[in-house]
């Protein structure tokens, strides 16, 4: 069933890093953003008022992490639509490779890059974020990968819907970034208008933010079991949906 998965994943990783903006766009940019933000805000960590400190110490790292996840998803949507438009998906499918293998290889590449970006960001941020050094990094990485996987599943639904590769990036961005606004990262979900509250409850970003903030601040996995279940359900639902509507050509 999974014959060729490792080889294809490795190959796709290499191919992605050969893109002129491949490594720079996904790995370097988030790290640079993090350093710049850290420079601007890092010195205020201890001195500033409580609210500001909390934003810088918790929301900001979570925001950067979620942005890493979103950029991975946008990249996935783009690659899938470019591969479809160029007949690459069709060509790969006309081999003994099973269809899920072809797509899972892309997911694994994105998860690997997400983990690598996070690791680099943390290393870069140590100087400005003494707080960051004490967070359960391994746990946070796992939480980010779970979140990314769930948002990636939405990426497959988007990739099924976008008509051409040209629209992949903008359509993905328009759908994904607003999810952040109601995710609870900037305001608690509880104070949102009811309609937005319901929408927030359906979006993976909301649970991802809750999970990431919780793990970052040292809360237990058990207290976030609900978030993980929700992310899992959304992931399964999106995979099932895109399995029905996904177009190979």
């Amino acid at each position: 069933m999974w014959r060729g998965l490792l080889k294809l994943t490795w190959l796709e990783l290499k191919i992605f890093l050969r893109e002129p903006l491949g490594a720079a766009g996904t790995v370097v940019v988030p790290v640079v953003i993090f350093i710049v933000l850290g420079r601007l805000g890092g010195s205020r960590l201890s001195a500033g008022p409580m609210v500001e400190t909390k934003f810088l110490a918790v929301a900001m790292p979570v925001l950067v992490s979620v942005l890493i996840a979103i950029s991975a998803v946008l990249s996935l949507v783009t690659i899938i639509s470019v591969y479809r438009e160029g007949g690459i998906l069709k060509r790969l499918r006309a081999t003994p490779l099973r269809p899920p293998t072809i797509l899972l290889a892309q997911v694994l590449v994105k998860l690997l890059l997400t983990a690598a970006t996070l690791a680099l960001t943390v290393l870069a941020g140590r100087r400005y974020y003494p707080v960051g050094a004490q967070v359960p990094l391994a746990g946070f990485t796992v939480a980010l990968l779970i979140s990314t996987a769930s948002v990636l599943s939405i990426g497959f639904v988007i990739a099924s819907l976008v008509p051409t590769a040209r629209f992949a990036q903008p359509v993905g961005a328009v759908l994904l970034y607003p999810m952040l606004a109601v995710s609870g990262l900037f305001f608690p979900v509880a104070i949102l208008p009811p309609v937005l509250g319901v929408i927030a409850g359906l979006l993976p970003m909301t649970y991802a933010v809750s999970l990431l903030q919780g793990i970052w601040t040292g809360e237990s996995w058990v207290s976030h079991a609900g978030d993980i279940v929700a992310l899992g359900v959304i992931c399964v639902a999106c995979v099932a949906l895109s399995a029905r509507i996904f177009r190979w050509e």
Binding site: R3, G4, K7, L8, I15, Y83, I88, K90, R91, R98
Partner: protein, 306 residues
């Protein structure tokens, strides 16, 4: 005699309300180059992709190497090699990486990738990115990928479309080489010259229906039996002599140029014999034999380029 490699009967395929293929039946024999020829949109690719198991037919039965392409698609893929129309690979995949990936996908023993690339003239392109290859090199790479699992049956869809005449000839040689190694080749083309030079047998498809099947020579004999001989001679009495030859249907004369039309395999030799018997001096002589292009025009009522 070995059973047919491909058997397809009563095959029909629709996309929404468009009928791509109405009713197609034919057989492909072991070890031949079989061509499905027709204009763009005639149903060639649809038919080929259903035989490959990439699409499911709406009606009819298809058997390939004794397998059902829909039900046994993974078993079938082990034993066939496929080149798709207008396919691409990842822009920045290297030639050797593609061959290496493909080779790792098959359970059966694959052939040596490096030697294959050398045979196809891609040896010095092993480390080149796919996007840097020329059209002909890309097609040769796709041939390599189609051959890597040493398949019994090879599918080539519009293999030489968009290539220059030089690359086209190189690729024809390669395809003949595939057959000479005992494999069966099923190809589609809208180039009648390609079909005529390459195919042992062809099926003409138009608007989703098979119009006729046979060797190129037999199709020409069946549908365009009229041969034309053009010659130049100052002998004014020649026209009557030509008209007396059996099988000659019409003789026209414009100045010193004669055009003789007629049927029958002996027509050319009969005309030559007539020339020598009557000591008719000829300064120019050529025969115009109809081609598959003419056959296509005759059987479908329109040119293949329309």
């Amino acid at each position: 005699m070995t059973p047919p490699v491909i058997q397809i009967a009563g095959f029909r395929k629709t996309y929404g309300s468009t009928v791509a293929v109405h009713d197609v039946s034919f057989e492909v024999n072991d070890g031949e180059i079989f061509g499905l020829i027709g204009p763009n949109g005639a149903g060639k690719t649809t038919t080929m992709e259903c035989i490959e198991g990439l699409r499911a037919p709406d009606r009819g039965t298809i058997s390939v190497l004794g397998l059902n392409p829909v039900r046994d698609v993974y078993k079938l893929q082990e034993r066939i090699g496929v080149q798709l129309q207008e396919a691409q690979l990842q822009k920045r995949i290297k030639v050797w990486e593609a061959v290496d990936l493909w080779a790792s996908l098959y359970r059966r023993k694959t052939i040596d990738g490096d030697r294959l690339l050398d045979q196809l003239g891609l040896g010095d392109k092993r480390n080149a990115w796919f996007m840097t290859l020329s059209g002909g090199q890309k097609q040769r790479l796709f041939i390599a990928l189609a051959l890597i699992n040493d398949p019994d049956l090879v599918f080539l869809d519009e293999l030489t479309t968009g290539l220059d005449p030089q690359s086209r000839r190189t690729i024809w040689e390669l395809v003949r080489g595939i057959r000479d190694r005992g494999k069966t080749v099923f190809l589609t083309t809208h180039l009648m010259e390609e079909a005529e030079r390459l195919c042992d047998r062809v099926a003409i498809i138009d608007h989703g229906r098979i119009v006729d099947i046979g060797t190129p020579a037999r199709l020409v004999a069946r549908h365009c039996p009229v041969r034309t001989i053009e010659l130049a001679s100052a002998d004014e009495a020649a026209a009557d002599r030509f008209r007396a030859i059996a099988g000659v249907e019409a003789v026209t004369r414009q100045g010193t140029r004669f055009t003789i039309r007629g049927c029958g395999d002996d027509l050319v030799s009969d005309v030559i014999q007539c020339l020598s018997e009557h000591h008719i001096r000829v300064t120019d002589f050529r025969t115009v034999i109809p081609t598959l292009e003419d056959v296509f025009l005759t059987v479908t009522g329109h040119s293949i380029r329309d």
